[in-house]
């Protein structure tokens, strides 16, 4: 039975649930988008604060369905943070694109519920439901600019492929359940006899495939550039940070705790191919959103390097990298969203090719500096947070004697520096072709300041994060 006092452990989740329904009600009766926005942002903020306060909770509650520990809380903090940052910029972006509907905020909150549930899941059922909740919201968000054909294409593509990959995931869960007779993760972790069962291994493999799709790893990465390109920019940022982090935060601890070393070679190969695809194809991109999409594929590769390590360092590295990644990737997407304009018929984007970044430093030095910082961090140049993220991941791989993997990963991330630098060169060392100005809303500025602060602060003092969430 569920005890009432168990609910105190999931106050953040309840806050978000209540807020999501409240947002719908407000939208129906008053259509006051200011109230809707305030409720949404406030609830996420409150949930974030409470999660940070309750970081030391460690318990299994609600009929063994929810597992709260410092890992899940840590990832939840990162997810909440990236949702909060993208929300702050959302409002001005949506107004600019004339799609400021209250439902947007409700759907963001629904997807957040899915993400938090899936991160805290102690049962494959919850993992599945959470993932579906998140994915369905993403399909909708990707098609949110209904007049833009590319947005529709992106939503449809994402939906069809996502539904197909969900089939793999479900089949995996079915096989796992068939072999073990349970979907409870704790039981699955502890029953090591099960881990030699071929059917169980295949089940876990199919389960992993479902998630590799969500995090955009090779060979399931094809959708990433198209979807990120077609979706509203702020949604692309949201999907590539919060969504990816939630998927990583769900599957990586599960794989690490199952500790099936047979998977190491598969994961290593996948990670190398992912990094290769992301970094090399990004070299040829001229569309900034596609470029960031490929960089996000490459990031999935770095995270998989950490996963392949299968040791204590791995989770540490993954957690830190997701934090750094949420700041820098989201920051970059926010800047792209500010620079982006609408085409004359208001049905399409303009200003998303690299050419529109020419001479940005002369037109708007502040924006150029900010973007440069994020790109440096994404490229992994010290002393920004992105550097430490990669550092921890590669160190974990080295500790696990995967020297070859770390060398390949370092080489590929060096290739990656090239395309980030290309954008920076465009901004600083070419002459402007237009004299467009860009409007920065106060809330968007706050989001950017927070991202910058995070990128620099955790770049200078990386260890503080682990102390903050009591994760050593």
């Amino acid at each position: 039975m569920i005890q009432l006092h168990e609910l105190q452990f999931i106050i953040p989740l309840i806050t978000i649930c209540v807020a999501s329904v409240l947002v719908l009600i407000v939208e129906v009766f008053s259509r006051n988008r200011e109230v809707v926005f305030a409720v949404t942002t406030l609830s996420v903020f409150v949930a974030l604060i409470i999660t940070i306060r309750d970081i030391s909770y460690s318990t299994i509650i609600l009929n063994n369905f929810i597992n709260i520990n410092n890992v899940s809380s840590g990832f939840n903090i990162v997810v909440l943070l990236s949702v909060l940052l993208s929300l702050l910029e959302s409002r001005s972006y949506l107004i600019k694109k004339q799609i400021n509907f209250g439902e947007y905020y409700a759907i963001i909150l629904f997807s957040l519920i899915g993400m938090m549930l899936m991160v805290m899941a102690n049962d494959l059922l919850i993992v599945f439901l959470g993932l579906e909740m998140m994915s369905i919201c993403f399909y909708i968000l990707a098609g949110f600019m209904r007049k833009r054909i590319k947005s529709n294409e992106s939503a449809l593509k994402y939906f069809l492929l996502g539904a197909f990959m969900t089939g793999f995931l479900l089949y995996g869960i079915t096989l796992i359940y068939g072999v073990s007779g349970t979907t409870n993760l704790m039981v699955l972790f502890s029953n090591t006899l099960l881990h030699q069962e071929p059917l169980f291994l295949i089940g876990v493999g199919l389960f992993l495939i479902g998630f590799l799709f969500k995090i955009g790893a090779f060979p399931f990465h094809m959708w990433v550039p198209d979807v990120y390109d077609g979706a509203p920019t702020i949604v692309s940022g949201f999907m590539s940070t919060a969504g990816k982090i939630a998927a990583v935060a769900t599957i990586f601890p599960i794989i690490l705790k199952l500790n099936i070393l047979d998977y190491r070679i598969i994961i290593s190969v996948v990670s190398v191919l992912t990094m290769m695809f992301g970094n090399i194809i990004a070299l040829a991109q001229t569309n900034i959103k596609r470029l960031l999409a490929y960089s996000s594929i490459a990031s999935a590769g770095y995270l998989l390097v950490g996963l392949a390590a299968f040791n204590d360092m791995a989770l540490r590295g993954i957690l830190f990298y997701t934090l750094a990644y949420s700041f820098m990737q989201l920051g970059a997407f926010i800047v792209v969203g500010i620079i982006e304009k609408s085409s004359s018929d208001n049905k399409d984007f303009s200003n998303i090719s690299l050419d529109s970044y020419k001479g940005l430093a002369k037109r708007n030095p502040v924006l150029a500096t900010i973007f440069t910082l994020f790109l440096f961090s994404l490229a992994g140049i010290p002393p920004f947070a992105g550097f430490w993220g990669k550092y921890y991941l590669f160190v974990a791989a080295i500790k696990a004697n995967l020297i070859w993997l770390s060398i390949v990963a370092i080489l590929l991330s060096v290739i990656g520096i090239y395309y980030y630098l290309k954008v920076i060169v465009y901004m600083w060392f070419t002459d402007p072709e237009t004299d467009e100005t860009y409007i920065m809303s106060p809330l968007g500025t706050t989001a950017i300041i927070l991202s910058i602060a995070g990128t620099i602060f955790f770049g200078l003092f990386p260890e503080i994060f682990f102390e903050l969430i009591r994760f050593y």
């Binding site: 959470g130 098609g143 059917l199």
Partner: protein
């Protein structure tokens, strides 16, 4: 005698299911595919019935055959989808690769399903009859599985809101 009848029924239903599944994938006309899919759902409902899961069987008919497939046929009729024969037929390496991969996956799964279950699992046929009823299912759903149940409710709410957002003619 009785288990023999069950076996015959099972073989019949599974042949029907597999056959209709193959037909469903290979038909060119979408409405024929849909009809074979309905037959497939019917066969699986029959298999549930053999497993003493009456409630699931009826729900399978009610939801999949009665609601979802009606919508599918509705959409096919509304959009007036033509035969797929216009789509390219010629050979491509992409198709070959996907075929090979599917066969590989099928072999892998088939092999491990046939040799993976080596009789280690105890039969629950004694309890099956009791478990399949609406009462026991309902109790499980609202007592032991209340959390996933509630989440599924939220999931549906999110999906409904999303469908309205995407399909609404115009916003204010």
């Amino acid at each position: 005698m009785e288990w023999k009848l069950e076996l015959i029924l099972f073989v019949l239903l599974s042949v029907m299911a597999v056959f209709s599944a193959i037909m469903m994938v290979t038909r060119r006309s979408p409405i024929n595919s849909a009809i074979f899919l309905i037959i497939n759902f019917f066969a699986s409902a029959g298999i549930y019935l053999l497993l003493q899961a009456q409630f699931i069987a009826v729900i399978q008919v009610l939801v999949y055959m009665g609601a979802i497939m009606v919508l599918v046929i509705f959409v096919i009729m509304l959009l007036n989808l033509q035969d797929e024969s216009k789509l390219s037929e010629q050979f491509s390496y992409k198709k070959l690769t996907s075929l090979l991969l599917s066969v590989l996956l099928f072999c892998l799964l088939g092999f491990s399903v046939f040799f993976g279950f080596s009789g280690k699992f105890t039969s629950i046929s004694g309890e099956a009859e009791k478990l399949g009823t609406a009462e026991s299912l309902g109790k499980e759903l609202v007592l032991a599985y209340s959390v996933p149940f509630e989440i599924a409710g939220l999931l549906l709410l999110a999906a409904v809101v999303g469908a309205v957002v995407l399909a609404k003619k115009s916003f204010d």
